[in-house]
């Protein structure tokens, strides 16, 4: 069955520290992978996507993610977190046309 697992429900980091949010997927074919961010009361904003090619993808707001096929992972990273990065982060996997499957999300708290 297709699924996305985000093992960390909550993560707290200090401002300026590095960040890694984990995402593992189960999917029968080569997946399309996404990270979305949701600020409180807001919609889902696309941070970055992986379709094919270079396995290290750059996104907006200084985020990057690395696709590792052997580990079925697509972890999100940022070298230095800003207070404005506090939000909920969702990893998603999708086939080409139809539905995305979302993980349960990781809520990031940033300490000043």
């Amino acid at each position: 069955a297709q699924s996305v697992t985000q093992p960390d429900i909550h993560i707290t980091v200090s401002e300026g520290a590095s960040l890694e949010l984990r995402c593992n997927y189960s999917y029968g074919a080569t997946p399309y992978l996404f990270w979305y961010v949701q600020s409180p009361g807001q919609g889902l904003q696309l941070l970055l996507k992986y379709f094919s090619g270079d396995t290290l993808v750059q996104g907006i707001k200084g985020f990057e993610a690395e696709f590792k096929r052997s580990q079925s992972s697509f972890n999100l990273r940022k070298p230095s977190v800003h207070w404005s990065d506090a939000a909920e982060y969702f990893c998603a996997v999708g086939p080409r046309a139809y539905k995305y499957i979302f993980g349960t999300g990781t809520r990031l708290k940033v300490l000043a």
């Binding site: 979305y36 807001q42 919609g43 904003q45 696309l46 996507k49 998603a92 139809y98 539905k99 979302f102």
Partner: protein
Amino acid sequence: EPEVTQTPSHQVTQMGQEVILRCVPISNHLYFYWYRQILGQKVEFLVSFYNNEISEKSEIFDDQFSVERPDGSNFTLKIRSTKLEDSAMYFCASKQGLNTEAFFGQGTRLTVV
């Protein structure tokens, strides 16, 4: 920058009433979706729509739900007789083609009382 817009941002309705949630996808997009997020839970797929018909729907999308693209610009989700458990944030999304990402609207928070 083009965006998906949803109206209203918040709707309160009584149990048993019909509601229509409205979305204006990005104009050259061809694939349309509704997702929902119950408070504190993950985002769940409801339905996808392409070429004026439903492509796929989840088990959540029962006979109480319907979608329509009435005029080539709007994309609506109708819940015929709302239940308390329909209270959620509903997101509309659209994408241009097969190898593109989906863009999500800001959501409509539906509260059924």
